[in-house]
Symmetry: C2
Amino acid sequence: MIFSNDHKYNGRGIEMKNAVGREIPEYIEGYGKTKPFMGAFENYGERQRASVRLRSVKPGEKKLLDTIDQVLDKVEMKDGMTVSFHHHLRNGDYVINLVMAAIARRGIKDIHVASTGIFPIHEPLVEHMKNGVVTGISVNYISPGPVAKAISQGFLKRPAVMMSHGGRPRAIESGDLHIDVAFIASPEADAYGNINGVGGKASCGTLSYAVADAIYADKVVAVTDTLSPYPACPIDITQDFVDYVVVVDSIGDATGIVSGTTKVTSDPVGLKIAKIAAKVIDACGYIKDELSFQTGAGGTSLAVAAEVRKIMKEKGVIGSFGAGGITGYFVDMLTEGLFRNLFDVQCFDLKAVASYRDNPRHQAMSGSLYGNPHDKGAIVNNLDVMILGATEIDVGFNVNVVTGSDGVIMGASGGHNDTAAGSKLAMVVTNLIKGRLPVVKDKVTTVTTPGETIDVLVTERGIAVNPLRQDLIEKLKATDLNIMTIEELKTISESMTGQAEPIEFNDRVVAVVEYRDGTVIDIVRQPK
Amino acid sequence: MIFSNDHKYNGRGIEMKNAVGREIPEYIEGYGKTKPFMGAFENYGERQRASVRLRSVKPGEKKLLDTIDQVLDKVEMKDGMTVSFHHHLRNGDYVINLVMAAIARRGIKDIHVASTGIFPIHEPLVEHMKNGVVTGISVNYISPGPVAKAISQGFLKRPAVMMSHGGRPRAIESGDLHIDVAFIASPEADAYGNINGVGGKASCGTLSYAVADAIYADKVVAVTDTLSPYPACPIDITQDFVDYVVVVDSIGDATGIVSGTTKVTSDPVGLKIAKIAAKVIDACGYIKDELSFQTGAGGTSLAVAAEVRKIMKEKGVIGSFGAGGITGYFVDMLTEGLFRNLFDVQCFDLKAVASYRDNPRHQAMSGSLYGNPHDKGAIVNNLDVMILGATEIDVGFNVNVVTGSDGVIMGASGGHNDTAAGSKLAMVVTNLIKGRLPVVKDKVTTVTTPGETIDVLVTERGIAVNPLRQDLIEKLKATDLNIMTIEELKTISESMTGQAEPIEFNDRVVAVVEYRDGTVIDIVRQPK
């Protein structure tokens, strides 16, 4: 083996510096050989997808099973398997806990839980981690809470793998993430495996994150509490992808779907930031017919949507589409005619669920269609403007949404690095100070999204434009907006709070942060 | 090599007798090694799908091309490639001719045309066959006409491959049929490759037959005459499957979609048969709540639907679903509440197109979902009653819909053998005499659908039940319906017409008839 300049030995194994300057071990125990991040747009070209294995179903065969235990028999659940789940029921989901409890009761160990998201309700996973039932977790979304904390505390044998919403289907489709059994929480299903997310007792709307699992997993199980007469139309996932259907008492609590903020903020600083952000978008020339637009569901992001909406109405602009996780707020913009269409990867509230059910212009998109860099063009590639949050941002515009100020895991990319890469104007909006700590730093604790894909930072004290975007700097010069360098914002920020105490870490790698293309953009070590 | 009893040498290469008693050469020049048909339900179990190859698309890349010639450059079209098409525009389709003319102009030879269907409008293919541009054809549907005739005349270098609607996606998904470039006639598309079949100048409704092509072909090209602003919602095939979009003057003539009969027959014999057929269905206990039902679009088949509709109304029955190629007749049954849903693989008329566009209970199904035996359960598996036509049926209930009384190719399975295998009651309805020739024979000229999957034959002179279905024979005994053996029907039929002259064939194999599972159920030799 030849060591290039990018390799050095530092007592923690061979490390390589990746394209955002992070030292990535060449091999990580429990993860394997790493591919270091090479740059956001360096890893395209010819791809080969994994070959799907399945058991074909003869006319007359039945798929309906009575209990999760029967399912575990049928799928021959055993040590070392990867089981997958989706998070459309968010903090109302009961399915992960139900299935994992049944697996644990059998004494099965060493399970990899590949869930698109994990919420506080999934706290029982911590016990499964402690006793070796669960030794691996991969997620594209995780809320601050017991499981995130337990991962940081090192209770998981193997490092958790943090993906993005587009990166996970990429991993599944490429074979990087092989799923043995996909358990799909199904608000409504029929006995032959047609599933939809709009019927039933716990309607969650689109089932987009489960699509890759349904296509590629060796076995696919629909877990439902609402078994309807055949066919369970309008079908989101069709019977030809489903091996078994099992009925449980309840798959979840639909009110838990609305978790986290999904309303416009009332905080005056947030509102001020939103006003500035909308002015920047307008000054950059994006608020015009055919605008496509996405925000997160956070209060400040939605406040930006509110400001953009105002300007669209004033100008009589008809946008092309709104996208992402969809809130009632975007539904209103659709019905007002401000967008012709919505692309929905996840309904954030019950108004979005109803709109997806009733309005054909409110269209589902699979996770792959949403953000997979290795398909023939994801929806994020067609985004004009993306409004993003940040826990930290550094002077290279790299963003952290994975670890908090204490170094503890409190999130995953979700669609962050997907939309940043795809959109023409990727804008981070944030208070300059959060929890008495500066948001702009020399180096973020963990890189989730590379700076080359972030165009503008908007704070209540000023705006910084990525020097890569001289075109935007030119446009904004002509305005009265308060443009400064990101270093200046850092200085202001630190002058108000002082520098943050550096966080100390042990050597133990508790999580690997994959960029959407499957390369490693950063690792998370255990905080001391 | 050991010759079993199933092998014999007859001067035409080694042949094996398949499960319907046909001698199938072990190897066919231009087709390859054959897998003889083993029985309709013998070929299930574990399956592995082909691995998809694609070129991932970076943000900022364009897909829109100006001419088909530019497309041929981009996809590097060359000798020996397989190009695919769908037949949703039926006898109104211009796309096959446009693309093949452009290929021919380049002097490219030895192309395999894998179209889901071929119609008289595709007559220019004959010239391409004669001059070696096209040397292979595979189809699941072909109308009587110039191309069918030219295949029988031996103008094609390799044998044509006749598939079923479910067999073709099976072949694509398994890798048996590898498509280099899929050209998808797209009634409406946007510049980034979202396609729908309900917009545009030549709306054809669902694009179901093109789905497997879009997923598995190396390159996918949307050919449209209606380029709409992004996104072309409601999307049938999404941008993540499409490499290029090209705009042409016209993809076809929407009035050509309605080709063949799609109205209830007015012929008194046909109406009599339909009345009897409906009585049989009722006597067998199928006209009750949750009925699922499919007919072809032929006049007698639709007359059966009309009779069943009457009985459903009398009884107040609410059916589960109607399926197949959908006509306005089934749309009316949906809107009357006789079915809760429709599964539509192909819109047969413009009323069906409008219904598919506007009614969420009128749902598209891909060809694979419709009839693929090697997925996790096709819709045909859930059919109660299927009404089928026949050119010939023999005393083993084997049906021919491929060759006419002169031995010339005039059809392909379409959904015939898929639905026969899947449905609980597969019923052939036909006049006992057609064109002064008997329909019931000792042996059909070509087996399309194996007798083990046909349950009942209904003619104007009497009904024959497959002896495999003693349960139905018991039920029908109690009625005043005129039940006889199929041999008796043959005798009646022959007493009226005399025995048909045997057709004489050369040794040359002009077509291979694949059963839905990819095994060879029969071959078609060149008629003398």
